[in-house]
């Protein structure tokens, strides 16, 4: 999966959900969205990007928090 494409989409979702004043809930909703609507290939590509320090910097904080949450559940 094209990493730029994946990163762009993840950040876009975070832009939409990040408005929630309850940031804890926003993170949960983002993690939920990535789990419910993203095929595993896309999610792995995003997790792989988050594991790369250079690419991680391109992710908005909400995305990295959501990914940490997904990783915690998957582990």
């Amino acid at each position: 999966m094209d990493t730029d494409y994946i990163i762009r989409m993840a950040n876009q979702i975070a832009d939409a959900l990040g408005i929630n004043p309850d940031q804890e809930q926003a993170v949960a909703e983002l993690a939920d969205h990535l789990t419910r609507f993203w095929e595993p290939r896309m999610r792995s590509a995003l997790l792989a990007a988050a594991a790369d320090p250079g690419l991680r910097a391109q992710l908005t904080p909400l995305v990295t928090l959501a990914l940490d949450r997904i990783a915690a559940v998957t582990v």
Binding site: M1, M9, I13, I19, E39
Partner: protein, 950 residues
């Protein structure tokens, strides 16, 4: 022998609680107050002779054939224009009436050609019938002298119907049909006395006039004056089969009139739930594609996309496809293949394709073209209201006081609904149009929008938030409704959010380009009118924030208490005929039929036990993700039923590169479409005339599609899927689509009550149809929302990244027109090309002048994705800075320019916003030249397949 005719009650039915009893020829009959004497008589099976009256139109009272005697009244009143009164005693047959009627007929016939035996409507002509009914035996005036039928010339300009003024009896039915039913006002009566004739526009031909070829006048004409050319050519039909239009999401019901296996004409069904006797040029006339010479009727295979096609048997074709899919899965993994269902196919066929993917392929890689149109509707309405569907039936609009149309163009995209809406506006309802273009609705005869919020493309969310801001800050919220029906904390958070200054109309003015005062006025009108309804289309969904706008619209409706009764609601106008149905049937990669998530173990268990497989709990790939996966080498095979993704999906060059990576593309279609040029297996499809099934329209109405002729390729689409499934080792045993519907109903709560016997007796039914709603559900969310409490969602405006720059200073937006349909595969193969033979670029005079462009010039349109060349139309329909085109012709390459930006929640492509530059040019773009070479190459590869020498 002509077909039996339906009863014509002469004047429209009236609704009234008050009932009136009258005596007609000695028989008592009770009817609602406001009913005409003519209709009351017909209710008692007494047909009063008539010519100018018909029950789809208001009475006119011109022919004087329907005279009756009423005790206590002088003279002979016309029964079509006389209303029943309590105790009225009416006589419809007396010697004096018979004489008067004969005199009237005598005059008509004296000015009418008597070529009945060679007339195309012989036996199906009301004038002929009436001459018989009144017992006309002689014509004292002769057939020479004052008659004028030789002087007028036929108008053959319309490709579908002819106008022979010599046969016109000036009954005005056509004029009234064009006004009342269609709302176009194209016809008038010109001249006087014997000279008077029907005339389109200012003595123009039909094609030169405003006529949109809906056929309402042809339907209404009691004589052969306006007649379908197909009837003139083929003769009258022998039988009639009720079926459903396969074009747009209105889902009009038609009687297909057939001679042998040949369709003679399609007549809109008077009792059609969605259309009540009306139609548009597509469904009414553009069905000739079904037997077009381009149809491919033999399965074909080839080892690579550059190899010649080889004609094979069905068995060979499906065995080859199945072998390839299995090879791919063995080599690249279970998830390396998938399927695409079609919104042009039936519910049953769509259901089978997703079932094949989930069982025989063993994954959830199934998606549908709704991905690229209404997937944000599915997401947005589910989040807010709890069900991924529109809330009303079409008839609901007749009870609306205000209608807000956002990003939709009903008179072109959903014409029959457009006509209904115009009728309601003529009756006095107010109209708000939110659209970057001046669509026809903004100003059309006897209809004018109270507000046209002509916003910049891509700013819908800012607009919806500004409307909400006005409602919240000016105290227009329906507080009691919200308190009772919606989640309190979510509403409070929303109220605080939209009240922020950044969401005010004044802030939105800078973003949308619409004056704040206009936004405020529109919001006040919407919030305070009584019954306010929103209708929206792809101008809402096909944006990077499509889902956000859908949720914003639902917020507006909830905040003003406009959901849950007739006349209000949130209504997505679906593009293709079965978009609603294909979504209902589990075509999305994350949902099983009935919008239930694949991660839900209970739902999975239900389907697992019915299908005898285990279902993957993870969501599958969506169409754009499939392309990405193809490009990274992890997605290699696809089964595509009835869709042309290469033409319809954005960023064509990107799609083409992805297709080129595939090892097995199976295309099932009527024609060798653009996608088939990248295919390895071609399975011939069947048109809607060749199969049984059901379609579900935009108002959730399930209607029957009935077989009119046998499938040209030997198999209906559902049978082809069964063959493929069996070859893949997952045999499914259905002997008729009704059995597929029975399975759908068993497994889907909102369909529990649906079956073919019910559809047979009811004509159509709107889901949910189950124990709780055995008669179906015209209006949803009555008394409470499907999800329990309505949920307000926060809708921040995030500008699209697709911005104008110095290099790409204009915004391109795309749409459709009345005469063509989607990728045009069907309508391009009909005479509808007489109205639209090419896609053009609309550009504002100011932008054109800046670039030295004149009307009709060839211009290059370049974006960061690609470039194409079209001819320019200079028009003020578009605003400065915005250009517009349609995508009906593949060679136009409209999607070469659109980008891979998409909606955040659903990946629905952002077709409506692309930054472009437009320049004068002299030759086709590089892509277009490549396209032409490829077209020729692929045509060459097809020829050996159809030649017996192969």
């Amino acid at each position: 022998m002509s077909l039996p005719r339906e009863t014509d009650y002469g004047t429209p039915a009236r609704q009234s609680e008050a009932l009136v009893t009258v005596s007609i020829d000695g028989m008592d009959v009770t009817v609602p107050a406001g009913t005409s004497v003519m209709r009351a008589a017909q209710d008692a099976d007494t047909a009063i002779p008539k010519l100018c009256a018909t029950d789809s139109l208001e009475p006119f009272g011109s022919c004087r054939l329907c005279l009756v005697e009423i005790e206590g009244r002088k003279g002979y009143p016309a029964s079509c224009t006389t209303l029943v009164e309590p105790g009225m005693v009416v006589h419809t047959q007396t010697p004096r009436l018979a004489e008067l009627r004969r005199n009237v007929m005598e005059l008509y016939i004296s000015d009418h050609p008597l070529d009945c035996l060679t007339c195309p409507t012989n036996g199906n002509c009301e004038l002929q019938d009436m001459a018989g009914v009144v017992g006309l035996r002689e014509v004292r005036y002769g057939f020479k002298g004052e008659n004028h039928f030789c002087e007028s010339k036929k108008d053959e300009s319309n490709p579908y119907f002819s106008y022979d003024p010599a046969k016109c009896i000036v009954c005005n039915r056509c004029v009234r049909a064009c006004e009342e039913t269609q709302g176009t006002f194209a016809l008038t009566i010109s001249g006087r006395g014997f000279e008077s004739r029907v005339s389109p526009g200012q003595d123009q031909s039909f094609m030169e006039s405003e006529c949109v070829s809906c056929g309402a006048c042809v339907n209404a004409c009691p004589t052969a004056t306006l007649t379908e050319k197909s009837v003139i050519k083929i003769g009258q039909a022998e039988r009639s089969v009720t079926t459903t239009c396969a074009y747009c999401g209105v889902g009009c019901s038609f009687k297909a009139e057939v001679k042998g296996n040949q369709v003679v004409r399609m007549v809109p069904a008077k009792d059609g739930g969605a259309n009540q006797g009306h139609a548009c040029v597509k469904g009414r006339f553009a069905w000739g594609y079904a037997t077009h010479a381009d149809r491919i009727t033999t399965p074909m295979i080839r080892p690579s996309i550059d190899a010649p096609w080889q004609k094979v048997s069905w068995d060979e074709a499906v065995a080859y496809a199945a072998g390839e899919f299995k090879r791919i899965q063995a080599k690249y993994g279970r998830s390396a293949v998938g399927g695409i269902t079609s919104s042009r196919c039936t519910n049953e066929e769509t259901y089978l394709v997703q079932k094949l993917v989930r069982t025989a392929f063993g994954n959830n890689n199934v998606d549908t073209c709704a991905r690229v149109c209404h997937s944000p509707t599915g997401y947005g309405l589910k989040q807010t209201l709890g069900e991924s569907a529109g809330t009303q039936d079409f008839a609901s609009v007749m009870q609306s006081d205000v209608v807000m149309v956002i990003g939709a163009n009903p008179t072109d995209g959903h014409p029959v609904f457009g006509s209904l809406l115009k009728r309601r506006i003529r009756e006095g309802a107010k109209l708000i149009v939110v659209d970057p273009r001046s669509i026809d609705l903004v100003r059309t005869p006897h209809v004018a929008a109270s507000h046209h919020l002509k916003l910049m493309p891509g700013t819908n969310v800012a607009m919806v938030n500004a409307l909400a801001h006005t409602i919240v800050t000016e105290g227009l919220v329906a507080e009691a409704y919200v308190a009772e029906r919606c989640e309190g904390p979510a509403f409070e958070a929303w109220r605080e959010f939209v009240a922020r200054p950044e969401n005010s109309p004044e802030a939105a003015e800078a973003i949308t380009g619409v004056p704040a005062s206009e936004i405020r006025a529109a919001a006040r009108l919407y919030a305070t009118a009584g019954n306010s309804a929103i209708y929206y289309g792809l101008g809402v969904t096909e944006h990077s924030q499509g889902s956000t706008t859908v949720m914003g619209i639902a917020n507006l409706a909830m905040a003003t208490g406009n959901v849950g009764r007739p006349g209000v609601g949130v209504n997505p106008l679906r593009g293709q005929n079965n978009v609603q149905g294909s979504c209902d049937m589990g075509s999305f990669p994350h949902e099983l039929p009935g919008y239930r998530h694949v991660s839900d173990a209970t739902t999975r268990a239900l389907f697992e036990s019915a299908w005898n497989v285990s279902i993957d709990p993870e969501p599958g790939l969506r169409i754009p993700n499939m392309f990405e996966a193809a490009l990274d080498g992890s997605f290699k095979g696809i089964y595509i039923q009835g869709e042309d993704i290469v033409q319809s999906d954005p960023n064509t060059q990107h799609v083409e590169s992805a297709m080129a990576q595939m090892e097995c593309v199976v295309v099932q279609d009527l024609f060798l479409n653009e996608t088939a040029k990248w295919a390895h297996v071609f399975l011939p499809g069947s048109s809607f005339l060749e199969k049984d099934g059901t379609f579900t329209n935009a108002e959730r109405r399930i209607s029957r599609v009935r077989k009119v002729m046998p499938p040209l390729a030997g198999k209906a689409d559902w049978e082809a899927t069964l063959a493929l499934a069996a070859a893949l080792g997952y045999p499914m045993t259905y002997s008729h689509p009704s059995e597929i519907m029975d399975e759908i109903a068993r497994l889907t709560p909102s369909f529990h009550g649906v079956n073919y016997a019910l559809l047979e007796s009811r004509g159509s039914i709107q889901w949910p149809c189950n124990e709780a709603a055995p008669d179906g559900t015209p209006t949803m969310h009555v008394g409470g929302f499907i999800r329990g409490k309505g949920r307000f969602m926060l809708t921040p405006y995030v500008p699209t990244t697709e911005k104008v720059t110095r290099r790409f200073p204009l915004i391109l937006t795309t749409g459709r027109i009345l005469s063509q349909y989607n990728v045009g595969a069907q309508t391009r193969r009909t005479d509808n090309t007489a109205w639209h033979a090419e896609d053009r670029l609309e550009i504002h005079p100011v932008d054109a002048e800046d670039r030295g462009i004149k009307d009709g010039d060839w211009v290059g349109i370049a974006s960061r994705a690609g470039e194409t060349v079209l001819r320019a139309t200079i028009t003020e329909r578009v605003q400065p800075g915005v250009v517009y085109t349609t995508f009906h012709f593949p060679e136009s390459g409209a999607n070469v320019i659109t980008t891979d930006n998409s909606d955040w929640a659903t990946n629905c492509p952002e077709y409506k916003v692309t930054a472009v530059q437009v320049t004068l040019c002299t030759q086709p773009s590089e892509w277009q030249q490549r396209f032409e070479r490829r077209r020729q190459q692929q045509q060459g590869l097809l020829l050996p397949a159809v030649s017996p020498a192969n």
